[in-house]
Subunit: 331 residues, 2 copies
């Protein structure tokens, strides 16, 4: 059986990347980073657990992509540029095919964002992936959750809900959920397209960077739009009015009944889009940031001084907000 | 059932620590660090898995201590001063008694070292603790594994083997291990003292800092002296001669038969002492660093230009080096 150290060497060690900010990479007690002088170092950690965040037997290459993508999404939500990451991995066995696929998906996305794997840990145990990611940003431009201001326009990047639709189709669980209608049968092509959103999310790194100096508050939508927006509202001590029908449903969810579309845009989860606020005077700048980063941006509401979430449909009728997803809840 | 966010808030969020290098702590998509200008940021990640690194039902307070201690030990082995850490935690259920104990042990050690908890993740799953730790050190003083030089004296901090002795007594597994003699019965007091070494290791942070500019190479002894020394030798492309009887056995292991004492000093594991090299001309400086940091230091051999590990007993007879512990091996 190959040793832990052989495994790390074989699948995760690569030649030095040439980034002068990486003083020392994998192979010592610590990695050494030399952050750009004057910059802020953004740090985020996410843990993915089999059976909770992904299906047992999930494709290893997609899982490698997703494990890093959800962390890069946190950097994006702060406006930080990726620098490096550590990987701690617990595996039931040193499965070489799995490691080859996982490292391939992981490192391809890392390369795309110039984000170096600088260290970590490998051990035997139930499948568990923990990534801590590091990014840089200049002083004073972080997109903080507590920075939304009454009067701000509320925006969402990309589209919502297709990941949740794929999850429902793959779990065949929609029928068991009394508050939701049955999902109509999906064509194989539609299921594949929606499943891409679930298994291979796109972190909105370029948009996050483009929004520096423009957006006030931002958060990434991992647990569902309504729940994640609630964090911004709580931290910023304000409320919001949202037009549920303005929420940009994904192309597959678009084909579904209106009630399902609305529910899974509001509280689907696994979208990894950015929800952000910006003053109305910078409306055109937000659109330009979207264009510059090749990312669709949609205005979906506004920030209010009065607390709480006021949800309406396209005709102005008030709706009730659904509960947010919670990793310790019953959903 | 309390939500994930309530849990984090209740047990792990504390008032701002006043450290100006922590720009933003728990509660946003990322934490923000403002490293000291010109300093290197040392980064290390360790994952602890139930049944692999600790017993099911282990005392939560000790586990909180140990989870951070093993990470601080990596900083110590680099000569870095602790700055901050992230915690990702997978738990079978939001057990408030467990969380209270775990956070208490974790944060007490964090306070002792001025190391702030700045973020993380909590999710449901098999018990798994992943900590990523950050430390600072000036340019050019990192104690790297590849820096040992032929002629260096080889040193070990503290004492070795009592953690392995406690593990054997608690697992009652020594009898099943054909290469080891039965361990004599331990008194309750001796077992308690040895178990402290297993469950509440002391990271040698002050010694690591005191050795800046004195030691060449260093590593922390987590998998066993011989195995960890082998990493230094491989990276430094050199060998070593070690007097097995000079290895400082722990006070409880001291009472055991010579063969057991030697084996578990060489390859016990879970010691979290530093193994380091320094030029002979700095012998007195090493002793002074030990005194200044209140840490025993013992010279146990020397670095050779010829590769491999040459092991002898106190009388100069050659011995065979035992295999090192490996998280994917069969030991």
């Amino acid at each position: 059986m190959p040793s832990e150290f052989d495994l790390i060497k074989q699948y995760f060690t690569r030649p030095p990347c040439g980034d002068a900010r990486i003083g020392l990479g994998i192979g010592d007690d610590c990695a050494l980073l030399l952050p750009t002088p004057g910059s802020r170092l953004a740090v985020s950690a996410d843990m993915l657990v089999e059976g909770r965040h992904f299906f047992a037997g999930a494709d290893a290459e997609s899982l490698g992509h997703k494990a890093l993508a959800v962390n890069l999404s946190d950097l994006a939500a702060m406006g930080a540029a990726p620098l490096a990451f550590t990987l701690a991995l617990s595996l039931p066995s040193p499965d070489t095919a799995w490691l080859a696929g996982f490292s391939s998906g992981l490192l391809a996305l890392a390369d795309l964002h110039g984000c170096s794997l600088i260290g970590g840990d490998t051990t035997r145990g139930p499948l568990n992936i923990c990534i801590t990611v590091f990014g840089e940003l200049p002083a004073g431009v972080a997109l903080r959750r507590d920075a939304a201001l009454p009067g701000d326009e509320l925006w969402v990047s990309g589209t919502l809900g297709d990941a949740r639709l794929a999850l429902a189709a793959l779990r065949c669980d929609a029928a068991a959920d009394a508050i939701l209608p049955l999902i109509p049968p999906l064509s194989e092509a539609d299921l594949q397209q929606a499943a891409q959103r679930l298994h291979r999310p796109t972190p909105r790194v370029a948009l996050g960077i483009a929004l520096r100096g423009i957006a006030h508050a931002a958060i990434d939508i991992s647990d569902g739009f309504a729940g994640d927006l609630a964090h911004v509202l709580a931290r910023s001590r304000c409320g919001a009015s949202v037009d549920a029908d303005a929420l940009p449903a994904g192309p597959i969810l678009q084909k579904m009944p209106a009630a399902l579309r609305r529910d899974w845009c509001m509280a689907g989860g696994d979208d990894y889009e950015l929800c952000f606020t910006a003053p109305p005077c910078l409306h055109a700048a937000v659109l330009a940031a979207g264009l510059a980063s090749g990312t669709r941006v949609t205005r979906v509401g506004r920030i209010d001084a009065a607390g709480g979430l006021r949800l309406s449909d396209g005709d102005g009728n008030m709706l009730q907000a659904p509960p947010s997803f919670d990793h310790f809840g019953n959903s």
